[in-house]
C-alpha cells in the first residue's frame, strides 16, 4: 500500500508538472499574441471557453478515438489536462498585459522602444504576477482533474479513487484524495509565495 501510494503520488505530480509546463509554454505566448491581435482574441478565447465547459470525464472520452493524440494512456491524459490548464494561463497573460497603465505604455513607445522592447522591458515584467496567478490556478485545478486521468489509464492518484469507488473502500478513496489535496495546498502556497516575491512595485 505505502509503496504504491508513493508511486502513484509521484506519478500524479509528474502528470501535473508535464501538463502545466506544456500549458504555460503554449498559453503564455498565446496570451501575448491575443494581446497584440484583437481579431484572434475573440475566437481563440471562445474556443478555450468551450473546452473548459466540457466535463472532464467526457473530454478524456472524446480524445480516445482521435488518431495520433488519442488512445489509452498517459499521453491522452496529459493532452486533456493541457487543454484545461490553457485557459486560465492564457487569460491571465492577456489580462496582465492589458492592465499595464496606458501612461506607462505610451511613455515607453514615445521614448522609442520597439514593440519587442516594450514587451520585454515593460509589459511582461509588469504582468508577471498576474501570469503566475494564472499558472497557480491552472496547477491547482489540474491536481483535481488529473485524478480522472486514471479512467483512461493515465495513472496517478485517481487509480486509488476509482478503485475505492468500485470496491466501496473508504481507505482506498482517502489514500487517493488526501495526497491530492495536499499536493494542491502545497502547490497553491508555493506558487503564491513566488508570485508575491516577483510582483513588481
Amino acid at each position: 500500500m505505502i509503496d504504491s501510494l508513493i508511486e502513484l503520488t509521484l506519478e500524479h505530480i509528474e502528470l501535473i508538472l508535464i501538463a502545466v509546463a506544456f500549458a504555460a509554454a503554449i498559453g503564455v505566448p498565446c496570451g501575448i499574441l491575443l494581446h497584440r491581435n484583437a481579431a484572434l482574441r475573440r475566437w481563440l478565447l471562445t474556443f478555450t471557453n468551450i473546452v473548459q465547459t466540457i466535463p472532464a470525464l467526457a473530454l478524456f472520452g472524446f480524445l480516445i478515438p482521435i488518431p495520433l493524440i488519442g488512445g489509452i494512456g498517459k499521453k491522452t491524459a496529459i493532452i486533456a489536462l493541457v487543454l484545461y490548464a490553457l485557459l486560465p494561463i492564457m487569460r491571465n497573460t492577456l489580462v496582465g498585459l492589458q492592465q499595464v497603465d496606458p501612461a506607462v505604455r505610451e511613455s515607453a513607445i514615445a521614448m522609442g522602444m520597439t514593440s519587442r522592447q516594450l514587451l520585454q522591458l515593460v509589459e511582461l515584467p509588469l504582468a508577471v504576477s498576474t501570469i503566475l496567478a494564472g499558472i497557480r490556478v491552472a496547477t491547482v485545478t489540474t491536481v483535481g482533474t488529473a485524478t480522472i486521468a486514471a479512467a483512461i489509464g493515465g495513472g496517478g492518484l485517481g487509480v486509488f479513487i476509482f478503485r475505492g469507488i468500485a470496491s466501496v473502500d473508504n481507505t482506498q478513496l482517502l489514500a487517493g484524495a488526501v495526497p491530492a489535496a495536499l499536493i494542491a495546498l502545497i502547490a497553491d502556497g508555493g506558487l503564491g509565495w513566488i508570485e508575491r516575491r516577483l510582483s513588481p512595485a
Binding site: D101, V104, R105, S107, A110, M111, A201
Partner: protein, 241 residues
C-alpha cells in the same frame, strides 16, 4: 535655417470625424510654442503628430525638414523628449533606470549613463544620492514630474514635447516647475512644444502661443500680442485671467 518642426496643411481624422483641419505653422529652433485650447480642441493630437505616435491623414509634419512619414519612428522618438501629465514612470524600475532609459536603449556605456543620470537628477532639483535608488511609488507628484522631465532630457534631444505636464500639481509646485522649465529650455537651448489649457501658464512659458479651437489653428502669436486679442477663442481665455 530649417524649422525644427513644421506643419504643412495637416489634417487628422478618425473615421469621418475631423480632429485637426488645415494646420500650418513653422517652429524655429530654441522656440517654446505653447498650444492653448480647451479639452477636445485637438492639442494632444497635434503633439502626437510630431513624434509619429500619430500620422496625418493629409498633409505633412516635418521634423528638421523631414516628413514623419519617411522617418523611422523609433529613431525619431529617441531624439524627442516626451513628458505627459500622468508622467508614466516605469513602476518596476528605479528612478536612475527610469531616467537612463533612452541612453540604455541607445547602448551608452554604463558609466556614461550613470554620470548623465546624476547630472540630470541634480539639474531638476533632486539630489541624486537621495533619489537614484528609489522607486516611483516612493515619490510625490511633483517629484515624479521632475523625474519625468529628467527622463525626457536624458539623451539630450533637441526637441521636447510636453502634454499638460504640470496639470496635476498643486499651484506652488506648478510654479516652481514652470520656473525650472523656463530656466532649462533657455540654458539648454531646447525647442519645445507645450500643450496646456492654462492661459497663465501659456503666457509665462511661451515664445509663441498657438490657439486651437475645434481642430483649427485660430491664432499664432507672441504672448504680448495674444494679450491684446479682443475676440475669438483667445479673448475667451484672456477673460478668465
Amino acid at each position: 535655417m530649417t524649422p525644427a518642426v513644421s506643419f504643412s496643411k495637416v489634417h487628422f481624422r478618425i473615421g469621418e470625424r475631423s480632429i485637426l483641419a488645415d494646420i500650418s505653422f513653422d517652429l524655429w529652433p530654441g522656440e517654446t510654442l505653447v498650444i492653448l485650447g480647451r479639452s477636445g480642441s485637438g492639442k494632444t493630437t497635434a503633439l502626437k503628430l510630431i513624434n509619429a505616435l500619430l500620422v496625418p491623414s493629409q498633409g505633412e509634419v516635418l521634423v528638421n525638414g523631414e516628413s514623419t512619414r519617411r522617418l523611422d519612428p523609433i529613431r525619431l522618438r529617441r531624439q524627442i523628449g516626451y513628458v505627459i501629465q500622468d508622467v508614466g514612470l516605469f513602476p518596476h524600475f528605479t528612478i536612475a533606470r527610469n531616467v537612463g532609459l533612452v541612453p540604455e536603449l541607445e547602448g551608452w556605456p554604463l558609466p556614461r549613463t550613470t554620470a548623465r543620470v546624476h547630472e540630470l537628477l541634480d539639474l531638476v532639483g533632486l539630489q541624486h544620492a537621495d533619489f537614484e535608488h528609489r522607486y516611483p511609488r516612493q515619490l510625490s507628484g511633483g517629484q515624479k514630474q521632475r523625474v519625468g522631465i529628467a527622463r525626457a532630457l536624458a539623451a539630450d534631444p533637441p526637441i521636447l514635447l510636453l502634454d499638460e505636464p504640470f496639470g496635476a500639481l498643486d499651484p506652488v509646485t506648478r510654479f516652481e516647475l514652470q520656473n525650472q522649465f523656463l530656466d532649462l529650455t533657455r540654458r539648454l537651448n531646447k525647442t519645445a512644444v507645450f500643450v496646456t489649457h492654462d492661459v497663465q501658464e501659456a503666457m509665462r512659458l511661451a515664445s509663441r502661443i498657438a490657439v486651437l479651437h475645434h481642430g483649427r489653428l485660430e491664432l499664432l502669436t507672441t504672448p504680448a500680442q495674444f494679450k491684446m486679442q479682443e475676440d475669438g477663442e483667445a479673448a475667451k481665455f484672456i477673460a478668465t485671467l
